[in-house]
């Protein structure tokens, strides 16, 4: 912080502004909208933004590993859908008339959560195997998986919407501990987990090495195949958790939950400093990227921008934010 304030003096001002563009944009949005709509700063609204962000952060954290290793994961959204659908179909009220599995015993929430993330982690494993051993480029591998999962979800849910969730399941999204919403606590915990993995383990160092220079990583003795597989397994785990919580939050699920979520997650990561050239990306950047996105979406509403124009606004902000951010890497040649 002190360094930040010091840098505000003198010729370093321009560089400081560029380096911290993301946070400044965040601040500007906050200030602008609060002036026009004071209710934007209400606890209620800020809590909403954090709740929506909690789910999105889980997805962004999941995809960050793939992005840092110069891959991508276009199946993220659908895997979120799988998590939602598994949670939704197995945690319905016993007396719900249109119960998906009639006669299913009352299942424990944590047990089904474990089942859901195990399944989504296995899906991630398949992605990892296809990418590492079959050498299919991540773009294609995950795009194919996206399509496969969609079909499987439709078949599994018979295209019916799922509702009537148990109270102790939806409690995950409505409950609080020490007056902090459980969803937000879960997100904070997972941010901690990812931070630890990326900064304090061999696995994390190998991820950055592979992204920084895959050939050099090979020569240095990094087991590239196995590291990449773990990246995608971890991603699947995060997406599954996000989907499971998403169903709790909205009280139901359908086969098309999570559609397109990967694009926002990837954009948020890129805005947050995960370089497209690989090997670069910090947790605080990813989290702020997601927050910027969510704040932007909500503020456009508070500003009464017509919904069709909102798409234009969001796209414009993404491009500008990344253009400013990418200067960090261009200038230092």
């Amino acid at each position: 912080m002190k360094k930040f304030l010091n840098n505000l003096k003198g010729p370093n001002l321009k560089n400081t502004l560029v380096d911290n563009a993301m946070y400044l944009i965040l601040l500007s949005i906050l200030v602008l909208v609060s002036i026009v709509q004071p209710l934007f700063l209400s606890t209620n609204n800020l809590t909403n933004i954090l709740m929506n962000s909690s789910i999105r952060i889980l997805i962004a954290l999941g995809v960050s590993g793939a992005l840092i290793t110069r891959g991508t994961d276009l199946s993220a959204g659908r895997i979120v859908g799988v998590g939602a659908v598994i949670g939704g179909t197995l945690l319905q009220r016993p007396d719900y008339a249109a119960k998906f599995f009639p006669g299913l015993a009352d299942m424990p929430v944590l047990g089904i959560l474990l089942l859901a993330v195990t399944i989504t982690a296995l899906i991630g494993l398949v992605n990892g195997l296809v990418i590492s051993y079959l050498h299919v480029p991540p773009f294609i591998a995950t795009l194919g998986m996206q399509s496969i999962l969609y079909g499987l979800s439709l078949i599994y849910t018979k295209s019916q919407p799922i509702g009537g969730l148990k109270d102790d399941y939806t409690y995950l999204a409505t409950g609080r501990i020490l007056n902090i919403p459980i969803l937000i606590l879960i997100a904070i915990a997972m941010i901690g987990v990812m931070w630890f993995l990326l900064n304090m383990t061999k696995f994390g160092k190998y991820i950055y090495a592979i992204g920084g220079n895959e050939s050099a990583a090979e020569v240095a003795g990094v087991n590239i195949k196995w590291t990449k597989i773990r990246v995608y397994i971890l991603a699947g785990l995060f997406y599954g958790l996000a989907g499971f919580l998403l169903a709790a939050k909205s009280g139901g699920a359908t086969a098309n939950y999570g559609i397109g979520y990967e694009l926002e997650a990837i954009a948020a990561c890129t805005i947050g400093g995960v370089s497209t050239a690989g090997g670069v990306g910090k947790i605080q950047g990813i989290v702020s990227g997601v927050l910027v996105f969510e704040m932007l979406k909500t503020s456009l509403q508070f500003l009464r921008v017509p919904s069709d124009l909102q798409y234009v606004a969001i796209g414009t902000v993404i491009v500008i934010a990344v253009a400013i951010d990418i200067r960090k890497y261009l200038a230092k040649k």
Partner: protein, 327 residues
């Protein structure tokens, strides 16, 4: 001798081919159904019912070979699927268009191929429907679904001892959650639900109107935002469909608010919600009735009957009083 045998063989061949031509083998009737997209709950129930009903009409002589395609919400994809039906000589088509502006081109194709067609759920313009006499439309008047929503709200407003007007200003403050932009049902339900109230003399004030694109999770997010902005001022919530309405209920519950919420579709979760006292009412889009009518009209066209240009299957208002009937 050789030449004589050759002559006999040739004659037999020629005569044989003649009989083959006249005695046409009776294969199954090929029915092509093009749906705008598969992950739409209502259309899923619709197409499943069409298939079940058609199969139930099979006899020992008449069999139906049914192919249903998913347009994936992309008209180009659907047009290719229709071209494929035409190329494979399908006998009759049922089409649920992605994009109504493509109606003219599609009608020209089926007319040229001579394949009678029933349009469902999305109605082509009168001009387009006039292009050929072997086409018809089966649907429900989307305006009606909106009107019934308005009726449900009106009944609550006028009920004896109604607490709907929380601030007592005689104006109904509402939140509207809309479906996808290009879907005509969204616009019609948005308009006609409010029109019913206004025509009945109720003063209304729009607090919040945003798109939740038919999705439950988006409904929750948008409603949460509406609550953050307007809180207790909200007196009623309209959702263009049940999924969004149910998402809204989730947000209201999280804010410990109780406000009447009205949807459309009468899906199973919606009926359950009425039973729990959360959803104030919904409107049944009669997928079963519409499915039967479209199949009947398709078969009628095949027989050669002359039909009207449009057939309406009514919506049904669903409230706490009658919801059990629809489970």
């Amino acid at each position: 001798m050789k030449k004589f045998l050759l002559l006999v063989a040739l004659t037999a061949l020629v005569l044989g081919s003649f009989t083959a031509c006249t005695a046409k083998p009776k294969g199954p009737v090929k029915v092509g159904i093009a749906i705008y997209k598969f992950d739409d709950t209502f259309m899923t129930n619709y197409r499943t019912e069409m298939e079940t009903y058609l199969k139930s009409l099979e006899t020992t002589e008449t069999k139906y070979e049914i192919t249903i395609t998913d347009g994936k919400n992309d008209q180009a994809t659907q047009t290719e699927q229709i071209d494929s039906f035409i190329a494979q000589d399908y006998d009759v088509l049922v089409i649920n268009l992605v994009d109504l502006t493509a109606a003219g081109a599609i009608i020209a194709k089926v007319k040229a191929a001579g394949i009678p067609t029933v349009f469902i759920n999305r109605q082509p313009s009168t001009a387009d429907m006039a292009l050929w006499d072997k086409i018809t439309y089966v649907g429900a008047k989307a305006e009606d679904s909106g009107t019934y929503q308005g009726e449900i709200a009106l009944d609550l407003w006028n009920a004896a001892g109604s607490t709907m007007d929380k601030n007592g200003d005689g104006i109904l403050q509402y939140v509207m959650l809309m479906g996808q932009a290009i879907h005509q049902d969204a616009a019609l339900r948005t308009e006609y639900s409010i029109k019913k109230l206004v025509d009945a003399g109720v003063k209304v004030e729009k607090l919040f109107e945003e798109r939740a694109n038919w999705n439950r999770d988006e409904g929750q997010v948008q409603m949460a935002s509406a609550i953050a902005q307007y809180g207790d001022k909200i007196e009623v919530v309209f959702g263009n469909n049940d999924d969004m309405a149910l998402g809204a209920i989730q947000a209201l519950k999280a804010a410990t608010m109780v406000v009447p919420v009205i949807g459309v579709d009468a899906t199973a979760p919606a009926l359950d919600s009425i039973g729990l006292g959360d959803l104030a009412g919904t409107v049944l889009n009669d997928s079963v009735g519409q499915a039967h009518t479209s199949v009947d009209k398709a078969l009628a066209l095949l027989k050669g009957d002359t039909l009207e240009k449009e057939y309406w299957v009514p919506y049904v208002k669903v409230t706490p009083e009658n919801f059990e009937d629809f489970k």
